[in-house]
Structures are given as C-alpha cells and as structure tokens.
C-alpha cells in the first residue's frame, strides 16, 4: 500500500481514501444544498425550491456592509504589511549592520510568540490611544505579521543577484530605478506570498475584531457570522450558508490565484528566464 511506485491503489487504500473524501466533503455539500434552498432548515436534503434568494440577502444590507468592512480590513492590512516590511527587508538583505544575526534570530523567536501573549497590552494601548476601531485592528495585525513577513521578504531579496543591480548601477540607474526595474520584478513571487498571507489572515481574523469592535457597523464578516449563529432563537440556515460561501470565496480564491507564485515562493526561487 505504501511507498511503492505503482500507480494503482489497493482496494483497501481506495476505500479508505473515498471514506476520507466523504468525511471532508459532506459538510461542504450540506452548506451548498442549504445555500441554494430558499426554504432551508439546516437539514441535509434535496433543496425544496432552488433559488438565489439566500445569496441576494447575503450580499445586501448589513451583510454587504460587513463584506466591505472585511475587504477594507484585509486590503489595508496586506498593503500596510508590504509597505512597512519591504523597505526594512531590503535593508536587512543588503546593508551590513553589526549584530544582524542576532536580529534575525530575534525575528524567528518573535515569529513563534503566540498572539495571546501580547493580547492584553495591545488592547490596553489601543484603548488608551483611541484605536479600538478597524484601523487599530490593521495596525495590530501588521505588527504581529511583521517578524514572519520580514524574514520571508529578506530571503527573497537575498535571491536577487547583486550583479544585476550592479549592472544597472553602471548603466547609470538611480537606487529608485534599480528597485523598481530590477529588484521588484524579480521578487514579485515573494511579495505575492506575503500579500496572500497577510490578506487571508486579516480576512479570517476573529479575535481582534471581537475585542476591538465597539459597534455593529464596523463588524467584519467573521463577527457578522459569529453574532448571527450565536443568536438565540431560529437560525436562518439558508442565509447563513450563503453568507458563509460569500465569506469563504475570497480567502480560497486568493490562494488559488496565487498558487503558482506560492510554489515558486516557498521554493525560494526568485530568478526566472
């Protein structure tokens, strides 16, 4: 069954794999039949009347507002992370400073540090500085993403050959031109990975919106969904199923859009053609 080069599965292995696939897929199929069933009751059954009504209500009113809030939060965090990290990562990659190894190790340690460890100080600081709002969430997430982002981007800049930069310099290009025409195009894969990482982590984020959101109007989709199925009384399964799908699509979509970049990204290959 294992570790042989045959292309065929044994019947037992096939059966086990089919079983695994069913377990993983069945919650999704439940989600889909309930989302398209305008009379959904939360049961697994063929839709009684198929319609897009649930999706319409999951994309209008306060649901649309929450979608926008999530989008702003995720785009804002991803952009802020790139802007803050890129310059410093290039600096770390190219400029000699004493104690650089120590700094890199400190980044590794900070990357391992769980968010919970600094939750209380972050909240306290945000409260005192009036940042218990989406901007505060963006800043907090950027700070927490930074160690990982810096390490990843630095590794990418390391793969850009110095000779190319040197050649551009000899041709008379300024630093800005070198960055724009040599370094950035060659480290696009790395930037895409960092962007994906910070976009999805902000899009999925629940803890910070939970403690930072003072009013319903700033709820991102994570909070919107949480407060809806946590409510007592009848749960609108059809609406929530459609809402879940609308909420999940960008997170999944970004991954598949950037998958090729991700692969070259994680392999650390920066130079193509």
């Amino acid at each position: 069954m294992t570790i042989n080069s045959d292309q065929k599965h044994t019947p037992m292995a096939t059966l086990a794999l089919v079983f695994v696939a069913i377990i993983w897929i069945s919650p999704f199929s439940w989600l889909f039949v309930n989302a398209v069933d305008t009379q959904a009751t939360g049961e697994l059954r063929w839709p009684q009347s198929i319609g897009i009504g649930n999706f319409v209500s999951a994309m209008s009113g306060s649901a649309a507002q929450q979608f926008m809030n999530s989008m702003i939060l995720a785009l804002g965090t991803a952009t802020m992370t790139i802007v803050v990290a890129a310059g410093a990562a290039y600096f770390l990659s190219r400029v000699y400073i004493p104690g650089k190894t120590t700094i890199l190790w400190a980044l590794v340690v900070m990357r391992m540090m769980p968010t919970n460890g600094v939750l209380v100080p972050i909240y306290f600081t945000a409260e005192k500085s009036g940042l218990l709002n989406p901007l505060g969430v963006m800043i907090a997430l950027t700070i927490l993403n930074l160690p990982f982002t810096l390490l990843l981007l630095k590794n990418f800049f390391d793969t850009v050959p110095l000779e190319l930069e040197e050649a551009a310099h000899v041709e008379g290009a300024s630093l800005w031109e070198i960055l724009r025409h040599v370094v950035l195009p060659l480290s696009r894969a790395g930037i895409a990975v960092v962007w994906f990482f910070s976009f999805t982590s902000a899009w999925n984020e629940f803890l910070f919106p939970l403690i930072f959101s003072r009013t319903d109007s700033v709820f991102p989709m994570s909070m919107g969904l949480y407060s809806a199925f946590g409510e007592h009384g009848a749960i609108q399964y059809g609406f929530l199923a459609a809402y879940s799908i609308v909420y999940a699509i960008p997170a999944i979509g970004v991954y598949f859009l950037l998958r090729r970049n991700m692969n070259t990204g994680f392999a650390g290959v920066g130079v193509k053609g």
Partner: protein, 296 residues
C-alpha cells in the same frame, strides 16, 4: 570584518534607514508589549473601575493564583487534551497517512481528497465553526446521517461531547498543513533508496518505519513544532463553537485568558496567564528543536 557597501547604496544610506524605520518602530512596539505583559502580570490592573488607574504591585500573587485557584490548571488540562488529540494525533497522523497513500499517485481520487482537505484549511475559522455547530446539532448532519439510521436517539453533541466535537472540527480543518508538509518531505526521499529496500525483501510497513520515517524525521519535528504551538494557542474555532462551555468543558487557555481579561476585566491576572502560555510554548519549542537537531 566590515563588508564594503555596494556603490549604488552608498549614497542612499539615509533613505534606506528611513524606509527601514517604520518596521523597526513596529518591532520595538512588539518587544515593548511583551515586556509590558510580564510587568503587568505583577500588578492588579483591571480594565474598568478604580484599578484601571490606581493599580498596585501585588508581587507573585497572580502567579500563585494560577496554581491555587481551579481555573488555570483545569483549563491547562483541557488545552493539553485538545492539543494532543487534534494536533499531535489527529492532524499529524491523518496528514501523514494521506501523504503516504497519495504519494506518486494521480487521478480523480487524489485531486478530490487534496482539494477537499485544502478547502477545509482555507475556510475562515468562523465558517468552519458554523459548519460544525450545524453538523453536530440535534437535528444536524451527524445525527440525521449516522446516529438515527443506526436506530439511536439523536444526541446533542454540543452538550454532551463538546470537547470531542472541537477536537474533530480542528482535525478536519487543520490536517491539510501536515499533509502538504509530509508530501513535500516524501517527495524528497530518493526513489533508489526505497527500491533498494524493496530488493532486500522488506515489507511496506518495514520500509515506512525503518527507511522513510528516519529520513523525514526533521520534517516530523518541524510539523509538530508548528501545529503544537498553533493548536495550543488556538482561539476562534473553539470560542465560536462553544464559548468554552458547556461548563468549562472546552475552556482552553486562549479562552480562559480572553474571559479573564475581557469578561472579568482582570488584566493583571490575564497577563500572568499570557506569560504562563508564553513559557509553556517556549518550553515546547525547545523540546521540539532539540528533537530536530539530535542526530539519529
């Protein structure tokens, strides 16, 4: 030893420093926060009321309370169970078995399995929580498809087996990461070595146990390191599914910390819990890193 600075950077040092400054500032804030958590764990700071301004130093009182009151130890135990079964057992073993079973294979079955576990992994935490809360409810998927056809009365899983539900939900959600890591590790094992072992007349199980596992040992340790830390401090899925209940059945440390700090408003005690979590995670990391370095 001082390296020469590249000529195209030499004239632009102030600019380079300027673009690096925001990150340096953010990182100092992070370090400052960590220091702050440690400092305030020795105080009785609270979010609201008199003690949000006039707090006092209370020495080790918060730390003593960790061990003398029920909350922390009970919560630690729940966290250990949750982490052990969903990460160490569930995600690692399922991820590994899938990687072994699908190694070098192609076709519809592989694609289906890969896509479906990836979808679970990419799904936002709260969507996963909604799915599992609906599946495990009294009229939900598990009761309608498994329990009732077998002739049993429907079970209220969220009430009676909440910890089991969150463990399964987290295994379902997180196995893809271990699968991806182990797939990459298995691809790096040279075919010749396996063929050679085959020629020597070993059984598949022996090849797996004696040849493959020792070779990918660093990957196993890396995988353990990351998923243990993530699971140990994981919050959203469990909180959205159960809120830590019923009673304190699923009250993992992340939820206990959240409740102490933001429901009961005791930031000082909450900081002590954070510091304890940092220490435990640090100890676990050192343990796994040693496993990683140790020669076989």
């Amino acid at each position: 030893m001082r390296k020469k600075i590249n000529p195209w950077l030499a004239g632009n040092i102030p600019l380079l420093v300027a673009v690096a400054l925001p990150a340096a500032l953010f990182l100092s804030v992070l370090v400052y926060f960590a220091g702050w958590a440690i400092t305030f764990s020795f105080t009785d700071l609270e979010t609201i009321g008199r003690k949000s301004v006039n707090w006092d130093w209370v020495g080790l009182k918060n730390y003593i309370r960790l061990f003398t009151r029920q909350g922390f130890l009970q919560s630690l135990w729940v966290t250990v169970i949750f982490t052990f079964f969903s990460a160490v057992i569930g995600q690692t073993i399922i991820g590994f078995l899938l990687a072994v079973a699908l190694r070098g294979k192609r076709g519809l079955l592989k694609t289906t399995v890969e896509v479906s576990i990836m979808l679970g992994w990419l799904l936002p935490d709260i969507v996963a929580a909604f799915l599992w809360s609906a599946s495990a409810s009294q009229t939900g998927l598990i009761n309608r498809v498994i329990i009732e056809p077998l002739g049993f009365a429907p079970i209220n899983f969220m009430n009676d087996y909440a910890l089991v539900v969150v463990i399964i939900a987290n295994t379902w959600k997180g196995s893809a990461w271990s699968y991806l890591l182990f797939s990459a590790a298995l691809d790096a094992v040279p075919k010749e070595i396996i063929e050679a072992a085959k020629v020597d007349g070993t059984t598949p199980i022996q090849r797996l146990w004696k040849v493959v596992i020792p070779m990918i040992r660093p990957h196993i340790a890396t995988n353990m390191l990351f998923i243990t830390i993530w699971t140990f401090t994981y919050f959203p899925l469990i909180y959205a599914l159960t809120g830590g209940g019923p009673g304190n059945d699923t009250n993992v440390l992340a939820i206990f910390l959240y409740q102490t700090s933001f429901d009961v408003h005791r930031l000082g005690y909450g900081s002590a819990i954070s510091v304890a979590m940092l220490l435990i995670v640090g100890a676990l990391s050192i343990f796994y890193l040693r496993l990683l370095k140790e020669p076989k």
